[in-house]
Amino acid sequence: MNEITNVSRRGFLQGVFSAGALVLSVKLVPQSLLAAETGAPGTVDQAAFHPSMWVGIEPDGTVIIVAHRSEMGSGSRTALPLVLADELDADWKRVRIEQAIGDKRYGSQDTDGSHSVRDFYQPMREAGATARLMLVRAAAKEWGVPESECETDLHTVVHKSSGKKADYGKLATAAAQVPVPSKDELKFKPKSAWRYVAKGSPSYDLDTICCGKAGYGMDAQAEGMLFAAVQHPPVLGSKVKSYDDKAPLQVKGVQQVIAIDGFKGAPAFQPLGGVAVVADNTWSAFEGRKKLNATWENSPHSVYNSDEYKKDLQKTARTAGKVSRIKGDVDAEFAKGGKILEADYYAPHLAHVSMEPPVALADVRGDKAVIWTSTQNPQAVQEVVGAQLGIPPENVTCNVALLGGGFGRKSKPDYVAEAAILSKKTGKPVKVTWSREDDIKFGYYHSVAAMYMKASLGADGMPTAWLHRSVFPPIGSTFAEGAQYGDAGELGMGWTDVPYQLANFRAEVGPAVNHVRIGWYRSVANIYHAFAVQSFTDELAHAAGKDPVEYRLALLGDARKITPKDTPGFPESPAGYEYDTARLRRVIELAAEQSGWGKKKLGKGRGLGIAAHRSFLTYVATVVEVEVNNQGEIKIPRVDTVLDAGLVVNPEQTRNQFEGAAVFGTSLARYGEITAKNGVIEQSNFNDYQIARMGDAPYHVNVRVLESDAPPAGVGEPGVPPFAPALCNAIFAATGKRVRELPLSKIDFSAA
């Protein structure tokens, strides 16, 4: 770690240092970044053999595989290269992963929506099979034997009858001369020959992470860099009236005070504006910022008060809205009377709080910018930085570091734009670090939502009609001023895709005005929709006097695939991923069985609750066991989750994701709530915006990943939506108290 390394020939620093600079210092370039070796533009392209932009093979046999999606813990940086390595028949120990810079050539790099493996499984297979075939052809030619007699065996081409063998490295140069085969020449391995796919591997970065050497955006450093903190407007859209530009300079280390313009029109990914303090270390920048004494103009959003806003949303949810899916006539059915249930559900704003807050390092020189950051979306970084600096996006090199969590926040590169603006103004590399307070007070919040539910039950206890109405400020409002209705994407997450077989059904959406930036958040609208639908389902089961598992299965009805053709208004799934009620049924049955549902003897104050939900094309059922004592304290001794995500490339990492989703779900269900007063966010750090700690997280989460030949679906997000309703249903079973509003910390569960 302390040895001095000549890193100037390493491509990954191109641009951060001026061309040809000899960089000789661990201090300036921490080992962590060397270890990560992320963002090496062109290393694959420079390999002896590089049949595509995805893979290169060096004469020493090192296989370089490009990871073009961002790694934030969900595992795509390991999973996709595993797919390629498997088809290549490469030795995983000889694979080096190279993190791609932002580049349109890769297609979408926006790592959100849990679709990295779904979208790139096939391209990775093809890239691996292409390289393997070319290596085989190179060997066959060299040995003068038919290609059909050659095969591969772990990084080696083998000619069985003659016993000839050649390592991939030895063949790399010759393979580079072989014409690239067409797709229909490719042969894929049979499943029985898979080495890595569906078997998995620990994260590629496991060792460096455990040694503290993994390179996160927070760890990026450049020669002569400055450190900045930005004072953002306390209310969205307010402009700075005055500030003290002298006092911060009294703080040792502070160098400059620089104003940043606010956004124009809808905020999108533009900077919020405010005043930056630039210093020679992060702490001085934070300290200097405290001395700014800034005052702010009013903003139209100063009217935002969460208490009143909630009442407004709930009122709207009780008022007829826009119909987004309809079948039969719920009103006619309700008019018949009988047993009618109504309920109002509510879920507040949430903040992402990835452990690593937003952070970016920018080095702007002339009409070029080099960025080092934790981003889920490097191409958006190119665009936003380009627009802010008035240079073409291609002039922006975005190096992608490891992300210390993302959860959707880091798809939005407003913080990167800040660093670029400050680098341009100072003429030096600048790293902008958001404090935790910045992260919580100035986020792109998960939407607050009010949902109204109504159903009538027939003699058999099953619903004869179901109406629900969702009201939330939409994500669209961040991108288009005045957007007030959730769009098909948000409604397709748990609202219009309710899979119950119902004669009369109507889903509606009502309008809501945004007062903060609304953004994607791990599993997005599925969170509040699944909370309402899965809790209300439980309410109906209890009203009907039926077992909640049996009731759910009955609601699903016939095993069938649901498409918008037979069910108008139902969201369209990609081909091959149609909503399959049989798959949802199966995870419900297996989760119930695994949890001991109906068999287990539970003591006083204990209860089981179930919820099941498909999101990101993955079917998940979760059973939560809860214990509520007389003081109203909640413990979660056990969670059972069963998922069907189609083919799962890395089951071990997927289990880890779903264990984590239970904790993420615990955090939002128990504590998650962001509120505003006069437009100012009231929470600021982990003291008043809590997330689950070890002792209040579920003690044991049993995750079962079903084996499946169905095409791969998402794993990063789908574990989250069923958790909160399963927990709340368990609380009902344990205490008889129905939870219709989150978070739980505001509800008194002590025995009356």
Binding site: S32, E71, S203, L206, T282, Q653, A661, P698
Partner: protein
């Protein structure tokens, strides 16, 4: 001029003595394994050892670090061979990994004073270390695994 030892190396510091140790380690020494997560001793990301005890570097001013021996994740072992690190790898604990240097340093401190912690002791010792990715179950398993290896 302050003096302290970081990972066995003598260091001097003549900056603002109120600067938290965290930023000295990260911005001045370039030891970026120690992470920032909250700055208020609420998350444990910045956990290091001061004279063998786990402390939150974000709230230890340099004036209080003076004269002490600091160990960071980079100094826990040169190659990841500390029993806690080995257990972390075996159990595949991390997701994003950002909190893990702090978790490992906290666990290593627990481990040095108690080779066979109970669940309650683990919960108590680790209560100050947040993991947003939710790896707590594996952290507990890894601590127990490390204890088993020692046994």
């Amino acid at each position: 001029m302050l003096r302290l030892k970081v990972n066995g190396v003598e260091r001097t510091f003549d900056g603002d003595s109120q600067m938290p140790l965290l930023w000295y380690l990260r911005d001045i020494l370039g030891l970026t394994g120690t992470k920032y997560g909250c700055g208020m001793a609420l998350c444990g990301s910045c956990t290091v050892h001061q004279n063998g005890k786990a402390v939150r570097a974000c709230v230890v001013p340099m004036s209080k670090a003076a004269g002490s021996e600091i160990r960071t994740i980079e100094g826990l072992s040169s190659d990841g061979s500390h029993p806690v690190q080995k257990a972390w790898m075996k159990i595949n604990v991390p997701q994003c990994g950002y909190c893990q240097p702090g978790q490992i340093m906290q666990a290593a401190a627990l481990f040095s004073s108690n080779h066979h912690p109970t669940d309650a002791q683990i919960d108590e010792a680790m209560a100050g270390n947040l993991c947003r990715c939710g790896t707590y179950q594996r952290i507990r398993a890894a601590i127990k695994d490390a204890a088993g290896e020692r046994a």
